[in-house]
């Protein structure tokens, strides 16, 4: 660190540590704690957070997408194996534009 400007910035930022004030806990800390302990003791469950709901929905959506993909893959494989030779050739020609149309 030879650049004096950089050194000055680093010292200034580290100096912030010396100004940190201790923050007092809320005056209602014990009251809230007691209420939480009583709720837990009574078996009251806190409602799931919105974040947890979103995560569950995301997992569900991901699983559904995966199932749809697996089904599509399975369906197309089965169709290909059960198709006649003529149909396969026709499909192949369509995919690679080997028909006479347009030429």
């Amino acid at each position: 660190m030879n650049n004096p400007a950089v050194e000055k910035e680093v010292e200034g930022t580290l100096g912030v540590l010396e100004k940190v004030q201790r923050a007092p806990a809320s005056p209602f800390f014990y009251t809230r704690l007691k209420a939480r302990l009583q709720a837990e003791h009574a078996g009251v469950r806190t409602p799931p957070r919105r974040l947890n709901i979103r995560l569950s929905l995301a997992t569900l959506a991901g699983t559904l997408l995966l199932l749809i993909n697996i089904y599509s893959l399975w369906h197309s494989t089965v169709q290909w194996h059960t198709a006649s030779k003529e149909t396969k050739l026709s499909t192949f020609a369509d995919v690679y534009a080997l028909t006479d149309d347009g030429y």
């Binding site: 660190m1 650049n3 400007a5 950089v6 050194e7 910035e9 680093v10 200034g12 930022t13 580290l14 912030v16 540590l17 010396e18 100004k19 940190v20 004030q21 201790r22 923050a23 007092p24 806990a25 809320s26 800390f29 014990y30 809230r32 704690l33 939480r36 302990l37 837990e40 919105r50 974040l51 979103r54 995560l55 929905l57 995301a58 991901g62």
Partner: protein, 213 residues
């Protein structure tokens, strides 16, 4: 200027650390005495809250973690065998709870990187590098930009370095006290704090070099 430990509180801390007060308080706590529990909470709530605030970005998260610390104290007091001072044990729980919360936030942040809509934009973890938006004590300082930079740099330190450095520089604990909390030797703590300072300086230096170039 920051007071490392306010005089009365500091005296109480040292008293509880080295005196026989624990011997009176702990049996009462183990018997489920509500007054003893209240006394313990009132004696330690500011220190536990500040310790949590040293790791977590918002006051709300720090208060939630601090409450969990005392719930753990309440539940586990019968397992406390007095091998360490009560204050050391409580600090250990506070550090562990804060680190667990931080790890949870990091996991969620990684998840949010892939599926942002699942986590949402209003999630508090977005505030990791934004103490300003959440009334963090660091943001109370005049130089908020520096405070944010420092907070981000602290967050990028190795966990053990961050714990030792935070307990020493922000909580104002001595090497001996930190060694007891982290269950390590004093030279190990000195080494951790030294490495934390070196890494912090390097990270800040790299950051400002990029900013100024």
């Amino acid at each position: 200027m920051r007071q490392l430990i306010p005089s009365i509180e500091g005296a109480t801390f040292l008293h509880s650390l080295f005196s026989m007060d624990d011997a009176i308080t702990i049996p009462a706590l183990q018997e489920g005495d509500e007054d003893a529990f209240r006394d313990i909470v009132e004696m330690y709530q500011d220190r536990v809250y500040n310790t949590c605030l040293g790791f977590l970005p918002t006051r709300q998260e720090a208060e939630d973690a601090a409450q969990e610390v005392f719930i753990e104290v309440f539940r586990s007091i019968n397992n406390f065998r007095g091998e360490a001072a009560l204050s050391t044990w409580i600090y250990r729980i506070a550090v562990t709870k804060s680190l667990l919360e931080l790890r949870k936030k990091r996991r969620l942040k990684r998840f949010a990187h892939f599926i942002p809509w699942a986590v949402g934009q209003d999630d508090p973890m977005d505030s990791l590098a934004d103490p300003d938006a959440h009334n963090h004590p660091l943001a109370q300082l005049e130089d908020k930009e520096r405070a944010e930079t420092l907070y981000a740099a602290l967050g990028s330190l190795a966990e053990s370095q961050r714990v030792a450095f935070t307990l020493h520089k922000i909580e104002g604990l001595s090497y001996e006290e930190i060694a007891a909390i982290m269950d390590a030797s004093i030279p190990a703590i000195e080494s951790l704090i030294h490495r934390a300072k070196t890494n912090l300086r390097k990270k800040l230096s790299d950051y400002y070099q990029r900013q100024l170039s």
